[in-house]
């Protein structure tokens, strides 16, 4: 089974239809909706979105790459995000990130070859009391340590292999 979702143009159209045609102010909202369904932003989706909103495809791409929240390559099934906010930083977040990079053998922003994990970082999610914080598939895991994270990733990897 391929872990990359197949490009479904009908799905893209139906997402776009939820936003007013020609309204450039919906651009970022549209990108979010597309990514929520496709897990990343493929070229075809951006082209169709540009057409729908009445902006150039180059602008669409330029705007999308301006933001940290958008991804242009297929992402892994699991997304592990390390919060790099200040509160997390002073409590040791860089060490979490390094640990995850070692364990997954990818750099921050990358995806493992088997498309199982994507490792990302975020500049604060406003849960500073929980720091240092890892977010695994949307769930906040507070007071993380490199050792705890390592165990968690191992478990997820085992589960994924099955």
């Amino acid at each position: 089974m391929s872990r990359t979702p197949k490009l479904d143009k009908k799905l893209i159209s139906s997402i776009l239809q939820q936003h007013k045609a020609g309204d450039a102010s919906a651009l970022v909202n549209v990108l979010h909706d597309l990514q929520a369904h496709l897990r990343y932003l493929p070229q075809e989706a951006l082209e169709m979105a540009a057409d729908h909103l009445g902006v150039s495809y180059a602008q669409m791409y330029g705007v999308a790459t301006f933001y940290e929240g958008f991804h242009f390559k297929p992402r892994g099934e699991h997304v592990v995000t390390i919060c790099m906010g200040t509160a997390c930083h002073v409590r040791g977040a860089p060490r979490l990130l390094e640990q995850a990079e070692r364990d997954l053998n990818v750099e921050s922003g990358g995806t493992t070859k088997d498309l199982m994990f994507s490792l990302e970082q975020v500049n604060c999610v406003g849960a500073c009391a929980l720091g240092p914080l890892a977010i695994v598939d949307g769930t906040y895991k507070g007071s993380m340590t490199p050792a705890k994270l390592s165990n968690l990733l191992k478990k997820m990897h085992k589960k994924g292999k099955k």
Partner: protein
């Protein structure tokens, strides 16, 4: 909910609802803010719900999932009304006991109450706990009292009273009221809100916009998140008042996508306000049209800057533009646009409701009212504190914050987000207001307050912020884009022992140009962390440069991990956990770290239960 067709109908409904909920009504408030949720507060809520129902107590006790109470360090929090008893770190398995002992018998469960880590004193009531006692909570207080998804809850605590009052006034009078209150923008720059409104209202136009800037990008700050999640109606009411005063018919909330719960709660709140006839066409039959839409951000710190925010909403890259023209004159699509941040909008209803005199009686001469700070880092009581303007840093960090954990000593506090300055112990008596902080080389910013202790390396901290900002720079200006990258390289040289004293001079020279010649505030203030640490903690820089030593034991290139002969009992745990197999040693014998293989990840120190791993 019914749609209110006149102010009178709304007023009548408010009255009815307030009367139906007397102040002494018994209620349990489980915090469902992001922090407590992550600690498992929703399971606590579920167990409460089941237990109350099965015991029939659900008739007597109202159960509420509320917004953030601010004391995130101690979550999940459970607050009981009207007694004011606060239980902290509550687990689902504690619920039975709480119901049995506290709800039924009225007894306090001591182990669930708060014990001050410094004085070891126990506190039952929320209001007595030092963390809360030092605060003056106007905006935040409501968070813990209401269910953020319930418009009726908001009405109970006086919600929409400010709007109803505004409707009775002429728009100019509303602006005047805000002006007289002395409210200054809580987003960072501290521009007088009333004056901003006046300029926007005074610009001729067929269409005006009001925008709520909820793009809280400062790492280590989450007060806006907590207000949007915990009391979204207050923002809607504030924007309604502003729109009425300025003659705007469209509102936009520019909200961070990293805050999914806030997006959801605000969406619900907008829907219920629309259902109640508080948004839409002909609001309360007054002929006033206004509606609000949510525009999500995409993850760009610079979009908190007004002109960049506008570009982003218009579907362009979030690159700041030179001002003037100011948004109040030419903003979204060239129309007059008033942008205020979350906290400012949430404060407006209170001012209208209670009057400008009440508001301006709080705070200092130049900075009125209260300000919410996100107190984080190396401090005992992490969380949100709302204090009157003019309180000293010391009172905040050591009073509400409860000082530094683990017996360590205070080193610095950084205010104002990533581009704020780091102030040392000698500046702890600085009163916190817009102007004094700037004088001391820092700034108010949106209210991040990060406490650092002796184990924080100030060069590393400066490098961290510069690293953040070079990544978040829009990349337009040479000085900011390339300047910050170079500054980062130079700071890395310091941290990694490659720097000379000339490096420090070049850092200062470069920082001067970045500050003087960048277009927007991100660039011009970006060097504050560097310049303030160079000023107040120069000896740490010099130690890195001259002695090739990191006094705080943080900078990897300048430290080594060793195992202490005396403390090591050969438990082998460090050797097992070392990712590089750099530790060797037989069971019950002294272990040794191979310095060639050690990657200084620090795991050995984390796992050692006998303090045998030494960093030097």
């Amino acid at each position: 909910m019914q749609a209110f067709k006149t102010p009178k109908q709304l007023q009548a409904h408010r009255k009815k609802i307030i009367e139906s909920r007397p102040a002494d009504r018994k209620a349990i408030a489980v915090c469902a803010g992001t922090g407590c949720k992550a600690f498992g507060s929703l399971s606590v809520y579920d167990v409460f719900q089941k237990t109350l129902k099965s015991s029939g107590l659900d008739k007597k006790w109202e159960l509420r999932a509320t917004g953030c109470h601010g004391f995130c360090e101690r979550g999940p929090l459970v607050l009981m009304f009207p007694s004011g008893t606060l239980y902290q770190k509550v687990k689902p398995e504690d619920v039975d006991e709480i119901v049995e002992q506290t709800l039924v018998k009225g007894k306090t469960i001591k182990r669930l109450t708060y014990q001050d880590p410094v004085t070891s004193k126990w506190f039952r009531r929320e209001q007595d706990i030092p963390f809360y006692k030092h605060q003056h909570r106007l905006v935040l207080k409501q968070n813990g009292m209401i269910d953020p998804t319930s418009l009726d809850d908001y009405l109970t605590i006086g919600g929409y009273g400010g709007f109803l009052k505004a409707l009775k006034m002429r728009p100019a009078k509303v602006i005047d009221e805000v002006k007289k209150s002395g409210l200054r923008g809580r987003g960072g720059a501290g521009f007088p809100t009333g004056t901003k409104w006046e300029i926007c209202a005074g610009t001729k136009a067929t269409q005006r916009y009001v925008v709520c800037n909820a793009d809280e990008g400062d790492p280590g700050a989450f007060m806006d998140r907590s207000v949007v999640e915990g009391n979204p109606q207050s923002i809607i009411e504030g924007m309604l008042i502003g729109a009425y005063a300025m003659g705007a018919s469209k509102g936009i909330v520019y909200l961070r996508q990293e805050y999914p719960l806030a997006v959801q709660r605000l969406g619900l709140a907008l829907e219920s306000a629309r259902e109640a006839g508080l948004l839409g066409k002909n609001i309360l039959g007054t002929g006033f049209d206004f509606d609000i839409q949510i525009n999500k951000g995409g993850g760009a710190f610079v979009c908190g800057e007004e002109s960049a925010l506008i570009a982003s909403v218009e579907g362009r890259r979030g690159v700041p533009k030179r001002r003037p023209p100011y948004p109040a004159i030419s903003g979204l699509w060239g129309k007059p646009t008033n942008i205020n941040n979350v906290e400012t909008w949430a404060t407006v209803p209170l001012i209208l409701d209670r009057g400008h005199k009440w508001f301006s009686s709080i705070g200092t001469e130049g900075s009125k009212g209260t300000k919410i700070f996100s107190l984080v880092g190396k401090v005992n009581n992490t969380g949100l504190v709302e204090v009157p303007m003019g309180m000293t840093l010391k009172e905040i960090v050591f009073g509400a914050g409860g000082g530094i954990p683990d017996g360590k000593s205070f080193k610095a506090v950084q205010t104002g987000g990533p581009s704020g300055g780091c102030l040392p112990e000698s500046k702890l008596d600085t009163p916190v207001d817009f102007d004094t902080l700037v004088q001391e080389g820092s700034m108010m910013g949106s209210g991040g307050m990060i406490v650092m202790d002796e184990s924080t390396c100030m060069v590393d901290v400066a490098k961290y912020f510069v690293g953040f900002l070079k990544f978040e720079s829009c990349g337009n200006c040479t000085s900011c884009r390339d300047g910050l990258q170079r500054l980062y390289e130079l700071l890395s040289d310091v941290c990694e022992g490659r720097a000379s004293m000339e490096t420090l001079d070049l850092i200062e020279e470069l920082a001067g140009t970045i500050r003087a010649t960048s277009l927007c505030a991100l660039g011009t203030t970006s060097v504050n962390p560097v310049l303030s640490t160079l000023k107040y903690f120069r000896d740490e820089y010099v130690a890195h440069v001259k002695e090739k030593r990191c006094p705080a034991g943080v900078c990897k290139s300048l430290i080594t991990y060793t195992i202490d002969e005396k403390n090591c009992n050969g438990c082998t745990i460090c050797a097992k956990k070392c990712p590089e197999q750099a530790i060797s040693g037989k069971k019950k014998k002294l272990h040794i770290i191979d310095q060639q293989r050690c990657i200084k990840c620090g795991i050995c120190k984390d796992v050692c239960k006998y303090d045998a791993v030494i960093v030097a």
